[in-house]
């Protein structure tokens, strides 16, 4: 990220990077900005490491049998002496209640990542079209949507979530997702609106308009492909944010409830014992922070790779 990119200033000798002469044979078929971005990403070690980490966490969540044979609910009550036990077959030991801690760690990924994925799909599904409408049509459509965004944006996130979940009194993956979507779509809508407004005044959109292109073509051919990149970035970072948000809500008691297994629950159950058995808190915290951080780093890498102004 600190490496200087060749910027496109007027007198920069490195630009244009490689104008091809009229006679040269075409050497590279796929030089689209998307494939350039892909190549750039695969060369970025931070992106690769973060992606591998996320893939592992995904497999924790969706194919846990790959990682552990022990069912997290299968707790040996005779271990439940109130102390974590280290016995053969439990390489991270057991929780206070005699449940295998490694299996909890693996299975605990599932609700976090499910909620994060659903919530992200949700905010994009709501925020993207609203942002596009506001940006493209402007006028009263924009005024209406923008005010709505302002109102939702003005709600304090945590307080809003506590109040809504308190009202619903049902703490499942779906209610948590719902709350996160209701309070979170504004970011995507705002970004998309700005991005569409910037794109719609670009010369090539005007050129297509002058050719007589209809709104649908302007939208899907010219504006969206050039305006959507920031949404990928925001969505990726939001994934991380939602993993953290789920843990926070669970920790505060308005998220998932036992006997569900989740990182948030593991932290909230064991934080009282941080002095005596720190590993019980540190293990879920570590995988959680690793996941959030990886999503954010992937988002950053995407931003760098997708921004055509930097190339």
């Amino acid at each position: 990220m600190s490496e200087p990119l060749s910027t496109m200033s007027v007198d920069n000798p490195a630009a244009p990077a490689a104008p091809v002469g009229p006679g040269e044979p075409s050497k590279d078929q796929s030089a689209s900005l998307w494939s350039d971005a892909r190549r750039e990403l695969l060369r970025n070690p931070i992106f690769v490491i973060s992606s591998v980490y996320i893939l592992i966490m995904m497999s924790f969540a969706f194919v846990p049998k790959l990682w552990t044979r022990v069912d997290p609910q299968d707790c040996q009550l005779n271990y439940g002496s109130g102390e974590p036990m280290f016995t053969p077959g439990h390489w991270l030991g057991t929780s206070q209640r005699g449940c295998d801690y490694w299996s909890h760690t693996v299975y605990g990924a599932n609700p976090s990542l499910q909620i994060a994925l659903y919530a992200t799909v949700g905010i994009v599904a709501i925020g993207l079209p609203l942002g596009v409408l506001a940006g493209f049509y402007g006028g009263w459509v924009d005024a209406l949507i923008s005010r709505l965004i302002d109102i939702v944006f003005a709600l304090p996130f945590l307080l809003g979530a506590l109040v809504i979940l308190g009202m619903l009194r049902k703490y499942s993956i779906w209610t948590i997702t719902l709350v996160l979507v209701v309070l979170g779509w504004t970011t995507v809508a705002r970004i998309m609106r700005g991005s569409v407004i910037a794109a719609k005044n670009l010369d090539y959109v005007q050129a297509a308009k002058a050719l007589g292109a209809k709104n649908s073509r302007l939208m899907f051919r010219h504006i969206l492909p050039n305006a959507i990149a920031p949404v990928f970035v925001i969505a990726t970072i939001a994934l991380g944010g939602f993993v953290a948000a789920e843990a926070t809500l669970t920790f505060l008691g308005v998220g998932l409830q036992e006997p569900a297994v989740s990182w948030g629950l593991m932290i909230s159950r064991h934080d009282d014992f941080i002095e005596t058995w720190p590993h019980l808190t540190l293990i879920p915290v570590t995988v959680l922070v690793g996941t959030v951080l990886s999503f954010i780093l992937i988002g950053d890498a995407l931003r760098d790779a997708l921004d055509p102004k930097l190339r």
């Binding site: 490496e3 200087p4 990119l5 060749s6 007027v10 007198d11 920069n12 000798p13 490195a14 630009a15 990077a17 490689a18 104008p19 002469g21």
Partner: protein
């Protein structure tokens, strides 16, 4: 007050080791490269020239030829990284600026050399009034009080013909029109009484009538103050109106040096000649515009030999082999980096 301090108060501290008889600015064999992901771009490949007091030197070239990078290197505002000065000397009155301490370099560049940029709006700080920005210069470099600094600021705005300077001194940069902003920029560059002014495309962003005003102003100021002026531009028309001597740059090298009258009457380098034939003139009808085929080279892969040879109608095998043609002396004051300068000039 002793005369020396009076001089200092106006011109800043004197620089030890300077030789008043040496040229005002001499650039020798300057080399600059940009180390980018795409490779090493050789922006300047051995550029030498000098400017004296009271003289206007035009550096003429297209974008990417290295003319602005030359100015940045002289001013010490090259972006490092990716830009690096890899060789050569920049001498102010015989003192190699690059070999001096950071502090001395700063002294020379702050007090003796000033620069006017193309885009005045982005060169001025938008959150301060122009008066404040000018006064700050005097406060910082000349130890003046705020009110004295402000008085000088008004004088300067007057000098660059800004109407109602006394009121406008309290305006912010965005409150000025494009031409007026460029005047403010010039006022700022003159604040510390530089001996050399470098103007990098000073009128490119301006309308033609405003361009004429600004060029007249620059020429007047230069004459009054006996400054050296380096005018960096791509505009052959502007150059014809104000320059004394011209250096034509191409792909990081100077390809032709000549006094202004000679170069337009009889260019000695094929590139200069082709450029002159490719621009339309407002006072002529039915001109045939001559096209320079191809593109300027990519600076990460400059052709061997003469870098203009792939586009040149005079080129022969010798041009396509290293070493590139040196600057051949054509006449006193004229030199050309072309093996076939005689053919180009039509001499013989």
């Amino acid at each position: 007050m002793a005369p020396t301090t009076e001089v200092q108060a106006r011109f800043g501290p004197s620089i030890p080791g300077t030789d008043p008889s040496a040229p005002l600015l001499a650039v020798e064999e300057l080399r600059v490269e940009f180390r980018t992901r795409a490779g090493i771009a050789k922006a300047i490949n051995g550029v030498s020239f000098e400017v004296n007091s009271g003289e206007t030197l035009a550096i003429l070239g297209e974008s990417g030829c290295g003319k602005s990078v030359t100015a940045q290197a002289i001013m010490g505002i090259l972006d490092t990284p990716p830009g690096f000065i890899t060789g050569g000397q920049i001498k102010y009155r015989g003192v190699d600026v690059l070999k001096r301490s950071k502090e001395e370099r700063r002294q020379i560049r702050a007090n003796k050399i000033a620069m006017v940029f193309q885009d005045a709006l982005s060169s001025l700080n938008p959150v301060f009034t122009v008066g404040f920005q000018l006064a700050e210069l005097f406060r910082k470099h000349r130890g003046m009080t705020r009110s004295d600094g402000k008085k000088r600021a008004i004088e300067l705005l007057d000098l660059v013909n800004i109407p109602a300077a006394r009121q406008r001194v309290n305006d912010f940069p965005h409150q000025f029109s494009g031409g007026m902003r460029q005047r403010v920029m010039i006022a700022m560059s003159l604040a510390l009484d530089p001996e050399l002014l470098i103007a990098d495309e000073p009128t490119t962003a301006l309308d033609v009538t405003v361009q004429a005003q600004i060029m007249n102003l620059l020429a007047d100021l230069q004459r009054e103050r006996n400054m050296g002026l380096i005018l960096i531009t791509h505009d052959m028309g502007v150059v014809a109106d104000v320059a004394d001597r011209i250096n034509v740059m191409y792909a990081g090298r100077i390809v032709e040096k000549a006094p202004v009258f000679d170069i337009y009457a009889k260019p000695s380098h094929p590139y200069t000649k082709a450029l002159l034939e490719s621009i339309p003139r407002v006072d002529l009808k039915g001109q045939q515009l001559n096209v320079i085929k191809g593109l300027p080279p990519n600076l990460t892969q400059i052709p061997v030999g003469c870098s203009f040879s792939p586009r040149c109608r005079y080129a022969q095998d010798v041009c396509k082999a290293d070493p590139p043609p040196p600057l051949y002396p054509v006449q006193p004051g004229i030199s050309s980096a072309c093996h076939f300068w005689k053919e180009v000039r039509g001499d013989e």
